[in-house]
Structures are given as C-alpha cells and as structure tokens.
C-alpha cells in the first residue's frame, strides 16, 4: 500500500507524482494535505469527485491541525491490494510502442516481477534505471509527450474537483522571494542570518551554561568529599564529571543552534538559502543539491554523506562526499565554544561565526580543487520546488530540536563517557600529568606541531578527538585540570596558550581528519578505501596549512 501525500495548494504538481505511482501499482491512497491553508486561500476540494475520477480513495488531511488523520488510518486498514490500472491513454503512436515493448518485456523472466506497461513507459522516457534493468534504450525520448498527456488528464480531473479563487498579482511568498533570492542581496542576507543564529547560540545559552556549570561544580565537590580513595575520587571527579560535564555545559548551545535552524527550516528559508547558493555552487561544478547535503553536515557529517545518494551525477557525488567533512558539524561546536569563550570573551560569537564561514569557504574551494585535479565532471541540474513561507509552529520546532539534539545527549552518555574514562586512565597512569601515557603520545608527535605551537595536551586531545570531536573538550579539561591547583582548567589554558595559537588550534580542529564514523560511512558510500585515505591526507594537509597561516598572521598582529 502506498500513500501519496499531495499539497492541497499545489495539487496539479502533486497529482503528477500520483499518476507516476499509479502507472506502477494500483493500491494507492491519496492524502491531500495542508487543506487548512487551501481553505484560507479560498480553495475548495471535492474529495469524492477527486476519488471518483482517479479511481482510488482520497482523504483530505491537515498535519498542522490533525484533520483527517484518523480517517486516513481507517482507509489504510480497509484498502485492499490491487494491480495497476490504466487511467488515460497516450497518443496512438506512443500506445503502439508501449504495447510492443510491454509484450517484449513480459517475455523476459528476469522482468516478471515488474509491470510490463510501466517498464515500457519508463523506457520511452529514457529512465536510466529502467534502461539498465531491461538493457533496452528507445531511439527517441518521449518524455515531453508523456508529460503533456498526464498534465492534460490532471487539468481535466481538477476542473471538476477543485473550485476556488483565481490567483491575481503577487502573493506574499513571491514578494519575499523577490528580495531573499536576489542575485546580490540574497547572499548577504544569508550570511547575516547565519551570523545572527550563531550570535544567538552564544548569547542565549550563556546563563543556562552557567547554571549547568555551577550544578556540576557542586556535584563534583560533594562527591570529592564523599569518596575516600584518591584514584577513585580522581576518576569520578576529574575523569567522569570533568570529562562528561565539560560537554554537558554546551548542551544549551547545541539545542539553541538546532532550534534556530529549525525555525529557518520551518519558515521555508533554508530551501531559499540552497537556491541562493546554487549559483555559487554551480561555478564550483557542484549543484544546490550538494549544498543541501552540506547543509545537513552542520548537524552531522555522517548524515550529510549519506544524503549524497540523491545526487545523480557520480563524480559530483564523490566530490560532495570528500568535501562534506569540512562543514563544521555540531560535535565541533563545544570545542569552538570552549576555546572561543576562554580566549576571546564576548567576541567568541564572532570567532565561531568566522569558523563556520571558513568551513564553507574551504568546502567550496576544495570542491573546486578536487574537481580540477581528479574529475572533470559536470554538475547535475537542480530543480526544486520552494515551499511556501509559513509561521513556524512551536510543536514542530520542539520536535525538530529534540530529534537533532538528543543524539548529542546520547553521545555524552555513551561514547564520551567511555572516552572520558579512557582519557583519565591515560592521563593518570603510570603517573599523573606530564609522565602519563597521554603525555607520551602527545610528546611523540610534538616535533610535527612545533611550527603551530601546540602543546602535548593539545596534540593528545586532537588524537583522541578522531573518535568523536567532542572528546577534544573532555581531553583538554582533563589534561589542563591536572595543573589547576586553584581555579579551572580554562584559567590554566588561558595562561599556557596564546590567543593566536588558540585560534590556530580552532582552525585545525575545524579542518583536520574527519571522525571515525564519518570515515566509515565514506568507505561505505564510495565503496573504496582510496577515498578514505585521500580524505584523511587531504584534510590533514589543509588543516596544517591553514592553521599555520593563521598562527603566522596572528603572531604578526
């Protein structure tokens, strides 16, 4: 059973998808959604007439108000399986070809599970997947003739089942789009919006982080006074509370960032951002579709890489997979906030904004370089339907925020908790501080990082950060916490590290090796370790060069 969800306001385009599904199978239910908005716009949809014309059950729904949802469930339970049925006929010439091809395909045992007529129609449309499946390529592409027939049928159906106002002049969405998607203004408006989002993330979370921090401090001192053995006290207070707590302090930032992104998505602005950036991306031989994948990377690089499956052009897909890890994921945000807050105070928000901007610039430039060096691919064209602007609903935003943000909490309770214990052990044995195993790892790599001015604590935390980027925060607070006789690990860091080195470290964290889950998904999606090695080496080279440039320029200033 398939439910096709149509948009009540754009029913013509929604029915086109429905017809394509109906060509494949008959057990379909049409849910005409957003009917509340259609009514506001003066549209009246006769579901009985629509159902009669299409020969399938039709339910009118509104996801926003819940209207029709129960009816939809009932219809789904009652509906029976059925095979595809013909609603309209194409021109005589095309019908003859369909019949001949369908007959031919029906004789092939390997194609027996597919509908012959559907395979024939798809072959005449030059569908790549069906051409590969059948091994047949039609001489002429009949896509436009087939589309015209479908649209003629849709018009006929709608003429009797939908009544409403004729559209006159511009609507609100068109008026806003005229400015928001402007060739010049669009980019600057996008940058301004993103800047405000990061500033809000930094500002609003301030008091909440402060509350969590003081709560954790109280818990730490309570447990510190209650636990007897030194090693156990150190494990609980410095390792677990210090390590996991250092991450938990940034939970408000993560949730506020996702809430702000949720507002942008719910309101319909984010697809416009993709549209605006599409022009820029095209010059880098990428399409707005790649940008949408990259946009997901602001949440998590893994989902960003997995979403590249929607990119039809293989070379463009590989380039997008290779450059997506440069997009600053939410796991890197706690590191940025810790260092930026410690070293740059109230200007921390500006630093974080610049890091995000740098991540976009490096991503785009890398795409250009990889395209020039490795591939000479052409970007796939992007056709996207811009949704209407909507007033965001609180329930949707809360759902979006929780859905995205809870992974961060889950990670804190699993990977980061485990990593904190391991890091504590490595920094406590065989002797605490500079004689520990963690110090040995950092010192072994120290010569490589002399030009960048990174200490062994910073280097070791980078090594552990490959497991998950948030671990860098736990590592830094554990390592520098060891020196803190009075005051916090952050105060020790402020004394031990110069602002130029701190900024250079932030840039390195932004650009260096992707985390292990990202590398694993890169292997899965590309099917080759070649791209994984390339990703590791290329990102290290870029991170080192840009961090060095930042350190040198910062030193001169």
């Amino acid at each position: 059973m398939v439910v096709v969800i149509g948009d009540a306001i754009n029913l013509e385009r929604s029915l086109y998808l429905l017809l394509q599904v109906l060509e494949l199978r008959g057990d379909v239910v049409l849910a005409v959604n957003a009917v509340d908005e259609a009514r506001k716009a003066g549209l009246e949809i006769d579901k009985n007439e629509l159902g009669k014309q299409l020969g399938i059950p039709v339910v009118i729904t509104s996801a926003a108000t819940g209207e029709g949802i129960e009816e939809l469930k009932e219809v789904l339970v009652k509906s029976a399986r059925s095979s595809s049925h013909i609603h309209y006929l194409f021109s005589e010439e095309i019908e003859e070809k369909i019949e001949a091809l369908a007959g031919r395909f029906r004789l092939v045992p390997a194609l027996s599970e597919f509908d012959g007529r559907w395979l024939a129609i798809k072959s005449l449309e030059h569908d790549n997947g069906v051409e590969k499946l059948t091994g047949f390529k039609a001489e002429k592409d009949f896509s436009s003739e087939l589309a015209e027939t479908r649209y003629r049928y849709i018009k006929r159906v709608l003429s009797t089942s939908v009544k409403g106002k004729e559209k006159h002049g511009w609507d609100l969405s068109e008026a806003i789009d005229h400015v928001i998607t402007h060739r010049v203004l669009g980019i600057f408006v996008f940058l301004s919006v993103i800047y405000i989002v990061f500033q809000l993330t930094f500002t609003i979370s301030g008091p909440l982080s402060l509350l969590i921090e003081s709560g954790l401090e109280s818990l730490g001192s309570f447990l510190g006074n209650s636990i007897g053995p030194d090693w156990l006290r150190s494990l609980v207070v410095d390792g677990i509370i210090g390590g996991v707590g250092a991450i938990l302090v940034f939970v408000p930032n993560i949730f506020i960032l996702f809430m702000a992104l949720g507002v942008l998505e719910e309101s319909g602005y984010l697809p416009r951002a993709a549209f605006v950036i599409d022009r820029l991306m095209y010059s880098m031989k990428l399409s707005g579709r790649s940008f949408i994948s990259m946009l997901l990377g602001f949440g998590c690089n893994v989902s960003s890489i997995m979403s590249t499956r929607s990119i039809s052009e293989p070379k463009e897909r590989i380039v997008t997979i290779l450059v997506s890890p440069f997009i600053s994921c939410s796991a890197r945000l706690p590191v940025f906030l810790l260092i930026a807050g410690t070293f740059f105070g109230t200007k921390g928000g500006v630093v974080v904004f610049f890091l995000y901007l740098l991540s976009i610039v490096v991503t785009v430039l890398s795409a250009l370089i990889i395209n020039r060096l490795l591939f000479k691919g052409e970007p796939s064209t992007m056709i996207m339907e811009l949704p209407r602007y909507r007033k965001p609903r609180v329930s949707s935003i809360m759902f979006y925020t929780w859905n995205k943000g809870r992974h961060f909490l889950e990670k804190a309770g699993t990977i980061i908790l485990g990593a904190s214990v391991v890091i504590w052990m490595l920094s406590y044995f065989p002797a605490e501080g500079s004689q520990s195993y963690a110090a040995m790892i950092g010192r072994a790599l120290e010569p490589l990082f002399i030009p960048l001015g990174f200490s062994w604590e910073m280097i070791s935390s980078l090594v552990f950060g490959v497991a998950a980027k948030e671990v860098i925060v736990s590592s830094l607070t554990t390592f520098y916490g060891n020196y803190a006789v009075m005051g916090s690990a952050m105060e020790v860091m402020r004394v031990a590290i110069s602002p130029a080195t701190a900024f250079s470290f932030l840039v390195f964290v932004l650009l260096y090796v992707p985390c292990l889950p990202t590398l694993a998904v890169t292997k899965n999606e590309t099917g080759s370790y070649r791209y994984v090695f390339f990703s590791v080496i290329y990102s290290l080279a870029v991170a080192y060069s840009v961090a060095l440039a930042v350190r040198v320029i910062g030193g001169l200033l």
């Binding site: 306001i9 908005e37 506001k40 716009a41 559209k167 006159h168 002049g169 511009w170 609507d171 609100l172 068109e174 008026a175 806003i176 005229h178 400015v179 928001i180 402007h182 010049v184 203004l185 600057f188 408006v189 940058l191 301004s192 800047y195 405000i196 500033q199 809000l200 500002t203 609003i204 301030g206 008091p207 402060l210 509350l211 003081s214 500006v350 904004f353 209407r388």
Partner: protein
Amino acid sequence: MSVRNVSTWLFLLGMLYVTLAVNTAFGFLFSAKDLMMGIVILVNGSIYLFGLLERVEDVKKRTSHLLVGSFFSYILSIYQIVVVFSLWLEGFVGGLCLLSVDAINFPLLFSGLLVSFISDYLKKSFTTT
C-alpha cells in the same frame, strides 16, 4: 501604498539603517562598538536602497523591498531584546550587572519596533497563498 510613498519610505529607512550601521560599527551613540553587527545592519539598509533600483512603475517589486527590509529590521530589534535579556539573566545568575546603555543599542531597538508597523501594513497588500 502609492509608489511615491513606497519610494520615500525606502529612501528614509535606507538612510536610517546605513546611519545605524555606522553608529553600531564605530560605537558613536548609545551603542557598543560592534563591527560585525554594523555590517548586518548595513545589509538591512541595502535591502531598502536596492528597492530604489527597481523600475518606478514596478510598485510590487519596490514594495517587496520595503516589506522584507522592515521585517528584517523588526527581527534585528527582537534579536537585540533577546541579547539584552540574556545579558541580564547571565548577570543575575552570576551575581553581576552586565547591562549598560551601550549594550542595549537603543537606536536599533526602537527603530526596528517602529518599522515593524510598516511590515504589518504592507503584508495586507499581498495575497497569502
């Protein structure tokens, strides 16, 4: 709104926001020095001024710039209120006073709130489908 009124508002608000941008970027009057915020306000000013580049007879296009510009100004005002509230709360939690006249940026805050009436008025001139 007539094309003449729209153009006048575009010019006046464009100039106002360019002035506010300079004021915020350099921290001249009732505002802390904040270059980045100054640039964001300048973008708001250019939304109005770009409207003047549209053809005079294209009143819908000019009105669009006034609508989006005034909504953006309103958002900046709300943003400023949120920042001020967060500063107050952070100070309250930490037992400090982080608020100052400059941190509030009164010119930006009040301009946006007043301009929001224009946005509200203009919305009615477009259909909502």
